[in-house]
């Protein structure tokens, strides 16, 4: 994806009335939930202890959900829970209680794929909205109409839909459409891949995915190996989605919720990405006619990127340039370094919690919601007793650092690593 080519408005005339879309963030735990909302998410989706597809994430207890909902309410934000497995018979006992507990915890919606979960929620937890998960691979308006008639207020489309297809779906059916706009992608239709089951006996559709599509493969024709040298094995690994350059198109084709992937990602990732999309969406609504993307927002999301970025299926079908074939693709030269807990304007010292190793002399950046941002080098660093330090080497240690501009609690510090 080029950062210099100006966006071509290919698809859409102006629509007269436009609702502000929801910005929907992933939150792997309570801390990430708070950062996602603080940085501008209108809603977050989380996983509970059961029925979600991230069995390795540190998923929420009901108590944590309640705390998350309480925090979200202060910002007017909503909390959704992913209950997106395809259940087996042995999973069925307990679904009712689990969904009732979600409803009691103040969860606004579940994201579900399996009809047994959809139907049970509608029956026993009517206050929970049911959103159809992308695991159902919905590509067309008629299927969207089916789910609308089943009483679902929202469908998360398959990642394989284009701008034109989404626009056509919206034309045919009056329903909320949610689409992934940023993050890692299955290279298969989501839910239509059991590579993990075959390679490792781990059930991908119940959260056991071992990401076999990121592995390297040898490709044979008539029994002869065709990947001619060892550096370029066959691969199905997709680059990550980034639609930040297409905010007007996403809004104007009628997407109601912009979803960011990444329940396993760090608070640095979530804060960086949500911050950028929040600013871009707000800037568009301030002046739709004159809107242009600020280039620094794209720079920001690139600092949190784990893989090279592309536009998925929105513009056209991904080709050779949209897949990762070799190891040369390096992640961003920045890393999460610390979180600000407090700031003393008198001394200019910020109290921070270390999240990874950094040292005096290293280039760092601070950022906060609404685009607050500055760079500096680490000059003065102390422990809480006031001892001067050269390096911050202890995970989660509380430290004091001199900042060149004021900062605030929940601001994030990242470091340059190359």
């Amino acid at each position: 994806m080029s950062t210099t080519v100006k966006r071509q408005r290919k698809y859409f005339g102006k629509r007269n009335r436009l609702d502000r879309p929801e910005l929907l963030a992933p939150a792997g735990n309570l801390e990430k939930l708070k950062f996602a909302i603080h940085y501008g998410a209108d809603a977050v989706y989380i996983g509970g202890q059961q029925y979600g597809l991230r069995s390795n994430a540190d998923n929420f207890t009901f108590e944590e959900m309640k705390e998350g909902v309480e925090f979200a309410n202060k910002y007017g934000a909503k909390v959704f829970v992913a209950t997106n497995i395809y259940a087996h018979n042995e999973d069925l006992d307990g679904i009712e209680d689990y969904l009732k507990n979600l409803e009691d915890a103040g969860i606004a919606a579940i994201i579900a794929a399996d009809p047994v979960i959809i139907e049970t929620a509608q029956r026993v937890a009517p206050k929970l909205e049911v959103h159809l998960s992308t695991q159902q691979s919905v590509l067309n308006w008629s299927t969207v109409q089916f789910w609308k008639e089943e009483g679902l207020p929202r469908v998360v489309l398959a990642r394989e839909t284009s701008f034109e297809e989404i626009e056509e779906i919206k034309k045919h059916v009056d329903i909320e459409i949610e689409a992934f706009v940023h993050g890692a992608m299955c290279s298969s239709f989501s839910g239509r891949c059991v590579l993990s089951n075959h390679f490792t006996d781990r059930d991908s559709n119940r959260g056991g995915c071992c990401q076999s599509c990121r592995w390297k493969y040898d490709l044979f024709v008539d029994g002869d190996l065709v990947n001619a040298d060892e550096d370029t094995p066959f691969a199905m690994s997709s680059k990550d989605l980034c639609m930040l350059e297409y905010i007007p198109d996403l809004i104007e084709c009628g997407i109601d919720s912009f979803k960011v992937e990444g329940r396993m990602k760090s608070i640095h990732y979530v804060a960086t990405v949500i911050n950028a999309y929040r600013q871009a969406i707000d800037a568009y609504f301030e002046d739709p006619e004159g809107y242009e993307l600020k280039p620094e927002l794209l720079e920001e999301v690139n600092k949190a990127a784990n893989r090279p970025l592309n536009t998925g299926f929105f513009l056209d079908e991904p080709g050779a340039e949209d897949h990762i074939y070799s190891a040369e693709e390096k992640p961003a030269p920045y890393d999460f370094a610390a979180v600000v807990h407090d700031y003393d304007a008198e001394t200019g010292l910020a109290t921070i919690q270390q999240r990874s190793y950094f040292k005096v002399g290293q280039e760092i950046e601070f950022f906060g919601p609404k685009g607050r941002f500055f760079k500096q080098t680490v000059e003065e660093l102390y422990d809480l007793k006031g001892n001067k330090l050269d390096v911050a080497r202890h995970p989660l240690e509380m430290l004091k650092i001199k900042t060149s501009e004021p900062v605030a609690a929940m601001d994030i510090m990242r470091k340059k690593i190359r």
Partner: protein
């Protein structure tokens, strides 16, 4: 009515349909690639018209696969296709996308509908959900084990189809990954023709004995299992609970192989039904399949006797 399970196999042309029925199949699944994926061959409406009477004359059934995930453009073509299938008296349509159900309700309400969403048909409650919405049959996911299939059969009344032989789909991408790879390797001439070939397989470093067929069509890239399920010697466990239909997947196999497989399963089903109490599997019944089995592809029990974690 006495229990007489269906023996179902896929076919790619008219000749195969007839020969497979004569070998003992009681139903044959065909389709065309506009609406169906992972077919054994391209089977047009004209071909259905030519063969359907012959099928029915032999007391067998002809099903049509419409198992694609449909896009908006294909949705526009569903009414005419379903009307044509209904007027040709095909016995059922196999589908996994609700848009087919939506079109069938209006344009072909008399046609039977078999719900086959492949890897996502995993529990009996979901079977009942689709039955309430018009499906007359539920095809279980290939990733279920024997206990789960038996439990599903015992807990729900809907007709149940279980794949008992052949390869299974394990990955479907809308991306044309072979073309992408060939384009990435532009300088390597031999890669230009990867798309559309059916002689390709993938191998993963740690699993040198397993060959996963991969191919590309207009709907993207498909990867298939490295083993062929073969439940012949354990078929009685499924017969005991009266599974309604046993499916043999015939794709990427020779016609001779598929005929041998049908004959073997026919023999087992008939032997069991003749005397369920005294039934005993004879190892020799496997010989004809083994003789034609690709030595690079294991005959396995699929997930029938596996415990998966997550």
């Amino acid at each position: 009515m006495s229990y007489n399970p269906e023996l179902l196999i896929t076919a790619g042309n008219i000749d195969q349909v007839i020969k497979l029925i004569e070998a003992g199949a009681s139903a044959v699944l065909v389709g065309e690639s506009k609406f169906g994926s992972r077919l054994t061959g391209e089977f047009t409406l004209d071909m259905i018209e030519k063969v359907i009477e012959e099928v029915h004359k032999r007391g067998a059934k002809l099903y049509v696969s419409m198992n694609n995930m449909m896009d908006n453009k294909t949705v526009e073509m569903l009414p005419d296709y379903l009307k044509a299938l209904a007027s040709l008296n095909v016995d059922a349509v196999v589908y996994g996308d609700p848009s087919v159900l939506m079109a069938a309700r209006v344009h072909a309400p008399q046609i039977k509908l078999h719900w086959n969403a492949e890897m996502t048909s995993t529990n009996y409650k979901t079977a009942e959900y689709w039955a309430k919405r018009g499906a007359t049959r539920y095809v279980t996911a290939r990733e279920l084990n024997m206990d789960e299939i038996i439990d599903t059969k015992q807990k729900s009344d809907i007709e149940l189809e279980v794949q008992v032989h052949g390869m299974t789909a394990i990955y479907h991408s809308k991306r044309h990954l072979l073309t992408s790879y060939a384009n990435y390797q532009m300088d390597k001439k031999e890669l230009k023709t990867l798309a559309g070939e059916n002689n390709l397989f993938l191998m993963e470093n740690d699993r040198p004995d397993e060959r996963f067929p991969i191919y590309e069509d207009q709907y993207g890239t498909h990867v298939m299992s490295s083993d062929d399920i073969c439940m012949l010697e354990n078929l009685h466990e499924l017969l005991e609970v009266k599974v309604d239909s046993f499916k043999i997947e015939g794709m990427l196999k020779s016609p001779e192989y598929n005929i041998a497989v049908v004959k073997a399963y026919r023999k087992v089903i008939d032997a069991y039904l003749a005397n369920p109490q005294q039934y005993k599997f004879d190892d020799e019944w496997l010989d004809d399949i083994k003789a034609l089995q690709d030595p690079n592809r294991e005959l396995s029990f699929g997930f029938f006797f596996k415990e998966q974690v997550y």
